[in-house]
Amino acid sequence: MSINCLTPAFLIERDKDRCIDCQVCVRQCANEAHRWDEEEQRVFSEDANCVNCHRCVVMCPTKALHIKKFPLEFRYNANWTQEAMRAIYLQAETGGVLLTGMGNDRPYPIYWDHMLLNASQVTNPSIDPLREPMELKTYLGRKPDFLKIKNGKLLEDIPPQLELELPIMFSAMSFGSISLNAHKSLAAAAKKAGTYWNTGEGGLHKDLVEHGDHTIVQVASGRFGVDADYLKTAAAIEIKIGQGAKPGIGGHLPGEKVGEEVSQTRMIPLGTDAISPAPHHDIYSIEDLRQLIYSLKEATEYQKPIFVKIAAVHNVAAIASGIVRAGADVVAIDGFRGGTGAAPLRTRDSVGIPIEFALAAVDTRLREEGIRNKVSLVVGGSIRNSSDIVKAVALGADAVYIATSALISLGCHMCQKCYTGKCNWGIATQDPQLTKRLNPEIGAERAANLLKAWAHEIEELLGGMGINALESLRGNRLMLRGIGLTDRELNILGIKAAGE
């Protein structure tokens, strides 16, 4: 035992006037930040264990708890901040890579918040979505350039399309990284809302096969859970090349999370680490990707759209173009604020580019090449609300992927400790004591409510712009104006400044 320089990050404040010593906090904290003292007959706090997940705060029936930043002040130093120093203390303790969960939390500009939407005034009418039909239906898939029509009949079928009742899907989160109950919640919500959820790279649990028609299954570098049935059960298949939180990095599900169910679903031995390599070892270049795309199309008789998901990196526009030309039906781009169950901190916080730029660049590039209409473009990586979605569509997206928002709807409080497996909200854990905290009935309702609420808001915003079908917003960048942006940024986003 030697000195440990790490001090608590959070302070638990217990209002003595309100605390009734009912011990709900003690029973609910998997981190043991609350302790019942038998001798004193009251509850004590172990601040150092607190991760500020708010489980106790929410569950406390008398609202007697508050969590604060631990008030310990370091001597002010604009360069050597508390965070910088704490990271070093931790690494000095452990000698390890700093791990974190969820998305990039650095104060980079959020470009969604630098774009403003238009509304109709006088010269054309806004539309009241309560009175007029408002269409959010979206089809994802490859589109032909034109149609052959003769005598009122279509001569050739169009390629397979995913039908979405609203332009929002749940993006990939594997069973293993999140609990089966989280999967059940998302799958049921997707079905209820008429959209899709994504298995991530962890296979499809047998209980969820019934939701196959609302499931996008992922084929990633570890190929976990992939077999013919998996592909055939799904509504669409996504090849995962990269993810926004950790571009260029693979995945690692520790053996302790690989219990009976995870093991069967991933098709790997019980208790073994599940390692997804950084690259697909059969894709070292774009032509290899084309082979995988067509292998999957062959395996599913060209009945299912193939997604290719990449992280938003510097050259994303050209890469996306290559993916379209490799035969992908949908290109999914994940921005650098996208979440994760576990990522090296330094990768998460400093690799990749914002999704707003990536989307604008890709949409523009594909239009310049005349191939934008061939594919659908799905973006994710910290879509926080309905106006982010409206802005994304106006920049050129067909639909968005949400994951962090979806988890927050299930109760996630962004404590960023997913990698510990002690998620007090029953989401990012496989501990049966914790996973049951997420009742999938409630989860499904909440996630579906979120979608419903956002759909209503999107309709309101569309109506305000005088638009009654989402497709008329897609790529309609005139509906956006930038605020607080440089000319260069406006130029990349392809929008005018507010007032122009």
Partner: protein, 381 residues
């Protein structure tokens, strides 16, 4: 102040159209009377007309109408014209000087035929002409081609439409199909090229409304080589129809079901074949849905079609008497020139009123498009 082409200018409008199915021609007096009734729907910042059948003596020539800011630009433009076309007649368009019309640019017309040797491989004649117009309009500052069809012409300028009609001496032209436009732009210095109708080859469009899908439509069109230099709805709508009908060979009926697509709820009630077609139209051409209020009259040499947006957010009235079909923003504009029509009605949103010359089956003829044309458009990947 930025003019059309530099900025997007919303405008309200009046539109009117008269056509005789038998092809009998009448002078421009009636259409002027009709549009004049709706004086208050314009604000003097734009008016114009399209007339079909006016140049029978040059019916195989492209009649190019151009505005020039000055003589230097005119020379520059004529140099290019000469390079790509043989010009059989060049003249100023006859005008009548009236007080109401000021700041008149140089207004010329050229009856031309393309020089075959200048055409690119696989380029059709119409594409050649369109490409030339796109080039002049986007690259030659101060010159603007505002009419380019055969045996037809558009006449437009800054002023109330009835004044523009008098200015261009339309009473002296005889056409079987007339459309007119009075404009109420919210801010423009008054640029002649910005007035309507908008025209490309034989297509003319008069339009009332402000489409909220504009940029979605525009950016899609630009993938297919169109340059929406005016940034007006009318221009975009013209190109949409040009793309769908001329380039893609989509039947007019389907094109209408693209721009004023039925709601998904309606599609879901269709029979399976219809459903398949309508779904494909909406899925593939979703970016060509014209959203927001509009009423348009799309004119071609074969006739015209009037159409409202699918919610019918703009007024549009039709009437018929004998062989004549009348369309206008307001019924008064029809009654002014046709006291007792056989019938008059308000067309439903998304349901077109089509008037074709006897013997014609479509607004657009596939004379330049053969079956192989389809292959042209599948971009090899």
């Amino acid at each position: 102040m930025l003019k059309e082409g530099h900025i997007r200018i919303p405008a309200g409008c009046a539109i009117s159209g008269i056509m005789n199915k038998k092809g009998e021609v009448t002078s421009g007096q009636e259409i002027i009377k009709s549009i004049a009734v709706m004086h208050d729907r314009s604000n003097g910042l734009g008016g114009g007309f399209a007339a079909y059948g006016i140049y029978p003596e040059f019916k195989n020539h492209y009649a190019l109408h151009l505005f020039f800011d000055d003589k230097k630009v005119k020379q520059e433009t004529e140099f290019l014209l000469n390079k790509f076309f043989s010009i059989d007649l060049a003249e100023t368009i006859p005008i009548r000087k009236i007080n109401a019309i000021k700041n008149v640019p140089l207004i010329w017309r050229y009856f031309v035929k393309p020089k075959i040797k200048e055409m690119a491989l696989h380029e059709t004649e119409s594409e050649f002409v369109v490409n030339f117009i796109m080039r002049i309009n986007s690259e030659v500052e101060g010159a603007y081609v505002f009419s380019s069809g055969k045996n037809m012409g558009t006449f437009k300028g800054v002023g109330f439409p009835e004044d523009i009609g008098e200015f261009f001496r339309l009473d002296e032209y005889k056409a079987y199909s007339w459309t007119a436009h009075g404009r109420f732009p919210t801010n423009t210095p008054g640029w002649w090229g910005g007035a309507h109708p908008f025209s490309l080859l034989d297509w003319t469009i008069v339009h009332n409304g402000e489409i909220s899908s504009y940029d979605a439509n525009r950016r899609y069109l630009e993938m297919y080589g169109y340059k929406c230099t005016l940034q007006t709805d009318t221009e975009a709508i013209t190109y949409i129809f040009d793309l769908l009908l001329r380039k893609f060979g989509i039947p007019l009926e389907s094109a209408i079901n693209i721009v004023a697509a039925p709601f998904w709820s309606k599609i879901s009630r269709m029979n399976p074949d219809e459903q398949k077609l309508f779904k494909a139209l909406r899925v593939v051409f979703s970016s060509l849905l014209i959203n927001g209020p509009f009423s348009i009259i799309l004119g071609s040499k074969n006739g015209f079609m009037a159409l409202n947006d699918r919610l019918k957010l703009r007024s549009l009235v039709a009437a018929q008497k004998g062989d004549n079909l009348y369309i206008a923003s307001e019924e008064s504009a029809i009654r002014e020139i046709c006291k007792n029509p056989d019938k008059s009605w308000a067309p439903k949103g998304g349901e077109p009123v089509i008037c074709l010359l006897d013997g014609k089956e479509s607004l657009y003829e596939f004379d330049q498009v053969d079956e192989n044309e389809f292959e042209h458009h599948s971009v090899a990947l």
